[in-house]
Symmetry: C2
């Protein structure tokens, strides 16, 4: 069965900066939405962790995900986000997506 590439990762903001970080990630979602192979780039918060923003992505392939870092404007948004982060982003959970509703 062919799988698509998924990533479920957490970014932790410094105190008071979660909403600013989320806004930047929502901007990023607009940029990557047109990238080849992007099926999902979902930005969420979790009541249990008040400084964190979660990003859940689905791509046709890991290669498509990796290429998205080259989309015009994405590096600039990353540069805006970095000073808001409490430490380096940790590697997210990598998923092999089998399918489902809302996924092609």
């Amino acid at each position: 069965m062919s799988t698509r590439y998924g990533l479920h990762g957490k970014l932790t903001a410094t105190e008071g900066n979660r909403d600013k970080l989320a806004t930047i990630l929502l901007e990023a979602s607009k940029l990557v939405s047109t990238a080849k192979g992007c099926q999902l780039y979902m930005v969420s918060i979790d009541e249990a962790d008040e400084d964190a923003v979660w990003v859940t992505e689905a791509w046709d392939s890991k290669q498509d995900h990796d290429n998205s870092l080259q989309v015009a404007g994405v590096r600039e948004l990353i540069a805006q986000a970095m000073p808001l982060l409490a430490g380096m982003p940790q590697k997210g959970q990598e998923l092999q997506i089998l399918g489902g509703a809302g996924i092609n």
Copy 2:
């Protein structure tokens, strides 16, 4: 900002039954795809955990999610899945979805 309801949860199969469990969950995704408020019901596996299947859901509201258990056929699929599980399913991570690509 209005949020949508997200859930990222893990089901652990007894040894050798992960693929059978995933097949049942993919069947479930077909049923719930037509349910009111269902935006995403994504079924994945994780190389780091060979007995687990992950389900990532996005709904217009928690109520819509809860109602999906009433969709015709869903309870029957749950009944098929239960004997394949290693213990009761744990509560998944609840997310407040802010938006993003692939989400309305």
